[in-house]
Chain length 469, copies 2
C-alpha cells in the first residue's frame, strides 16, 4: 500500500520554503536539507516506503523546539519528532513533507532522584545509555524494546518489551512530561509526586500519542533498584499451548516473574543456528526472576513444578550472570537469527496482543495460518502479557509474497480483535495500523479525533499518523 | 467559601422542567424529585455546602444512561453521576442544578475472567461487594479508599488507598471503560488485552475525570490472586522523620511492601482511645507484606533491620489473621477515632502528596504549622507513595475556626506544590481543589480545558468541577 493515499493536505511549496528560510536563520547548520539526511529520517526499518521530510532540525533545548514548532505552525508546515528511527510502523515518515526534529543532541540525563526512584531525561537519551548512567547507583530502567530506542520515542509509542510483565509498559513508568504543543506553549503534564488526582491525566494522554498531539521535550521516568539476585533459565514444552497454559498458571499463582518469553520451534532453530546454541528444538519459555537469593530460588522452584504439572520441563535455571546473559543475548538477537533463516529477506513484524486466556488459541491458529500459506514466520512472544510477534520473511521484490504477507497480517489482526485483543501491543499505530483503528475502537475513534482537533487544530503535529482528519 | 461563585451558567427553569417531564415519561418512579432525596444526593460528607440536583434518576442499563444524557443535553441541563456519595471535595454537588444519575441499581458483576485476572462490573458495585464476590475464587481487588466506595466513583476520582504502594491506584487497575459521552454515544475505551499501543489512552483520560467528560457505565478492572501468606505489624519510631526515612529505605531496597502507613502520635492516641488498644504512643508505621510463607518472613525480617538501623523498633509482626485484622481495623477506624478526640466536631480532610524524599520535611513542617495554630489535627499517611492526610477537627459554627482551617489547608497545598507535589493525591479535585489547579498545572490547565471543550462543548457533564469554562 502506498502511503501517499494518506497525504490528504495539499503541499504548499512556497510555505515550506519560507519555513525553511526562517529555520535556517534561527538554527544555522543545525538545519539540514541534504537528500541523504532527509532520507535517513524517513522510515527505514520496515516495508513501509520512505517518505523523507523537507528538512531536519537538531534542537538543543526545549526553547529550540518551541521556536521550530512556532515557525512551522506559522507556515502551516508539519512537524515530525525523531528519536533513533527504530519504530516499525512508519511513525517517522513525512507523508506531507515537513520538518523533522531530531533529538540526537538532546541526550542529557538532567537529574537522578535516587530516594524517589525517578529520573529526568531529555528525549534523545537511549535506554542503554540511561542504564549505563544509572548502574553505579544500583538503579535501572526496565523497559526494553528490541532496539536501543530513545526514551522520547519509547514514550511516544507507549513501548514495552520483555520486562513488562513485571514492570509494566511506558504508561506505567512515565511520571511526568514536558511537551511543546502546536501553540508553541511548553506544558508540564504532572508533578513528580508518585500519584495525583489533580485533573485529567495528560501524562498518559501523551504517552502513546506518537507526536500527534505535541512534541515531548523532557521525560520523568520511574526507576527500580537492581535486584539483589536474578535467576533465569529455559523450559521446553511439548506444544505452544502447553507453554501458554504454564504462563497462565504462573501469573495466576502470583509468582512475580520478571520475564516470561515464548519461542516457537522455528524461532528456536533460528537461534541455535545464529547464536551457536544447543537449545532443545521445541517450544520454549525463557524466564527470569528478580528478588532476594532465597526469593528467586523459591520462584524458580515453583515455576518448575507448574511446568512439570503441565507436561513441560525440565526447567534448567541459573543465577550465574554469564550463563544468563548468553541466553538473553540469544533472545535479543532473535531478529537477526530470523533474518539468518533466509538471507537477503526482510522481516515483516506483527504485534497483536490478546487476553491471556485466548493466547494459546491465537498463537496456534496463527501457526496453522502460517503453515497453510507456506510462509517462513517464526514466533516470539511476551506471553505474560498476551503479546506476540511473528516475523514474516519476505522478498520485497516479489509482489505475490508481499501480498500474501499483508493478507496474513490482516487475518492476524482480525483474529486478535475477535478475541478482545488489540492490533498493536507495543509497536504503535504510525501509518501501518491506522486502517485497523475503526474496527478496534468503533465510536471511540471519534473521541480520539476530537482530542486531536482540540490540541492540534491545523493537523500539523506528525500528521497522517494514528487519526486522520 | 460559598460554591455558588462557580455557578457561572444561568439556570433555565423552563428547560429543567421540560427535561424532568421527559425523564419522568421515560423512567416513571425511577425519577425522584423529593427534596429529601435531592438533598441526600448533594454533597454531605464534608464542609462544602449542600447543592442538591433538581431530580435523581436511577438507571438500570447503559441504554438508560444514554437516554437520560440525551434528554438532559437536549434541554441543556447538567448531568451528575453518583456512586455512594463518599467523595470529599463536592464532586456530586449540583451547583447549577441538573439531574443526578444514581448507580444504585447498576450494581452487577458482569463477568469474572479468572485466567486473565480481570473482571467487568457496573459502576454501582462497591469495593467490598466485589471482594465478597471474588473471595471464593482466590482473587481480590486491591484498591481500598477509606469508604466502601463504588467502583464507578473510585474510577472517576482516580482513587487509591493503603495498598497503592504495591498495587497502584485506579489508573493502574482499570483496563477498559464504557462511557456515555455528551453526544449520547456509548464508547469502549479499550479492549481487554493487558497492554495496547493502539492510539490515545482514553481509559486513563476518563480515570480521574470525575464525570466531567462523560458518564462511566462499565468498568473492567484488574484482579490479583489472594496472597498465599500475609504478615503484618507495627513499628514505633522516635520521630516522624525517622519513620519517613525508614519508608524511603524500605522502598529503595526493593522490599515489595504491600502497605506502609504512618500514624503520628496524636493519631495513635486517638486510636488507642477509640479502638481500646495499647499501641506505643509515638509515631508508628503499620506494615503488611504479601507473598509466600518464606517470602513474607524474609520481608518482615529485612524491614525490621532497616527500622532498627534508623532508630526505630522493635518491629512486632504476625501472620495470625485475627491479630492483623484487629490492627487494620484500627487503621480503617482512624476517621472515627479522630472524631472521638472532639465529639461533635467535623473533620476537614487534606490530601497532599509529595516526592518521597520530601515527605519527612513536609510532614514535619505541617505538624509545626498545626501546633502554631493550636489546631487538633492528627496525621495519617500512605507514606510509601508520599501521600498523607491531616484531619482538622472543626466546629463548623465557629467562623474563626473555619477560617483558620482553610488558611492551614492553603498553606499545606502551597508547601506541597513547592516540593514538586500535588494538591490531591487521591481525593480528587471536585469543587474544593479547583482553585489550586492553575498553580499546580500552569499552562497545562488550558490543555485540560481544551479537552473538556472538545468532549463536552456545552459544559453539561458534571459542570463546575475540575475545570471551569
Amino acid at each position: 500500500m502506498a502511503m501517499a493515499e494518506l497525504a490528504a493536505q495539499p503541499r504548499n511549496e512556497k510555505a515550506v520554503k519560507a519555513a525553511i528560510g526562517a529555520l535556517a536563520a534561527k538554527f544555522g547548520n543545525r538545519l539540514v536539507t541534504s537528500q541523504a539526511v532527509r532520507e535517513q529520517h524517513g522510515n527505514t526499518l520496515t516495508w513501509i516506503e520512505n517518505q523523507p521530510p523537507d528538512a531536519v532540525v537538531f534542537p538543543q533545548t526545549a526553547e529550540d523546539v518551541q521556536d521550530a514548532v512556532r515557525i512551522c505552525v506559522q507556515h502551516r508546515v508539519p512537524v515530525i519528532p525523531y528519536g533513533t528511527g527504530t519504530s516499525l510502523e512508519g511513525h517517522i515518515n513525512a507523508p506531507q513533507g515537513g520538518v523533522t526534529l531530531d533529538f540526537r543532541d538532546m541526550n542529557r540525563v538532567l537529574a537522578v532522584h535516587a530516594e524517589d526512584l525517578d529520573c529526568v531525561v531529555e528525549p534523545g537519551v537511549t535506554r542503554k545509555q540511561l542504564n549505563e548512567y544509572l548502574r553505579d547507583q544500583g538503579l535501572f530502567f526496565p523497559i526494553d524494546p528490541g532496539a536501543d530506542a530513545s526514551i522520547g520515542g519509547m514514550t511516544a509509542t507507549r513501548a514495552s518489551g520483555t520486562n513488562a510483565v513485571r514492570y509494566g509498559t511506558m504508561k506505567d513508568n512515565v511520571l511526568a512530561l514536558k511537551v511543546v504543543l502546536a501553540s508553541g506553549e511548553l506544558i508540564s503534564t504532572a508533578r513528580r509526586a508518585k500519584k495525583s488526582s489533580a485533573g485529567y491525566d495528560l501524562t498518559r494522554l501523551f504517552v502513546g500519542s506518537e507526536g500527534t498531539l505535541g512534541v515531548i521535550t523532557e521525560i520523568t521516568v520511574k526507576l527500580h533498584g537492581i535486584p539483589e539476585a536474578i535467576s533465569g533459565g529455559i523450559c521446553p514444552f511439548p506444544s505452544v499451548e502447553a507453554a501458554c497454559n504454564a504462563t497462565i498458571a504462573t501469573i495466576q499463582s502470583g509468582i512475580p516473574v520478571a520475564r516470561i518469553e515464548l519461542f516457537d520451534e522455528l524461532q528456536v532453530k533460528a537461534c541455535n543456528a545464529y547464536s551457536k546454541l544447543t537449545l532443545p528444538e521445541s517450544p520454549l519459555l525463557f524466564l527470569e526472576f528478580h528478588g532476594t537469593e532465597a526469593g528467586v530460588a523459591e520462584q524458580s522452584a515453583r515455576f518448575g513444578e507448574i511446568a512439570a504439572d503441565l507436561g513441560g520441563g525440565p526447567f534448567t535455571w541459573t543465577t550465574n550472570t554469564e550463563e544468563r546473559n548468553r541466553l538473553w543475548q540469544a533472545r535479543h538477537d532473535a531478529y537477526w537469527a530470523v533474518i539468518g533463516l533466509r538471507p537477503g529477506a526482510k522481516a515483516f513484524a506483527t504485534d497483536v496482543c490478546v487476553p491471556l486466556s485466548r493466547l494459546a488459541e491465537c498463537v496456534t491458529e496463527t501457526q496453522r495460518d502460517i503453515a497453510e500459506h507456506n510462509m517462513l514466520a517464526p514466533i516470539v512472544g511476551h506471553v505474560g502479557d498476551g503479546n506476540f510477534h511473528t516475523s514474516v520473511l519476505l522478498d520485497m521484490n516479489d509482489p505475490a509474497e508481499v501480498a500474501t504477507a499483508k493478507a496474513f497480517s490482516e487475518r492476524l489482526v482480525e483474529r486478535a480483535l475477535a478475541m478482545e485483543g488489540t492490533c498493536t501491543g507495543e509497536h504503535g499505530v504510525g501509518q501501518g495500523k491506522m486502517k485497523y483503528l475503526q474496527a478496534e475502537h468503533g465510536e471511540a475513534l471519534a473521541a480520539m479525533r476530537a482530542i486531536k482537533h482540540a490540541l492540534d487544530p491545523q493537523d500539523l503535529m506528525n500528521p497522517g499518523k494514528i487519526v486522520a482528519f
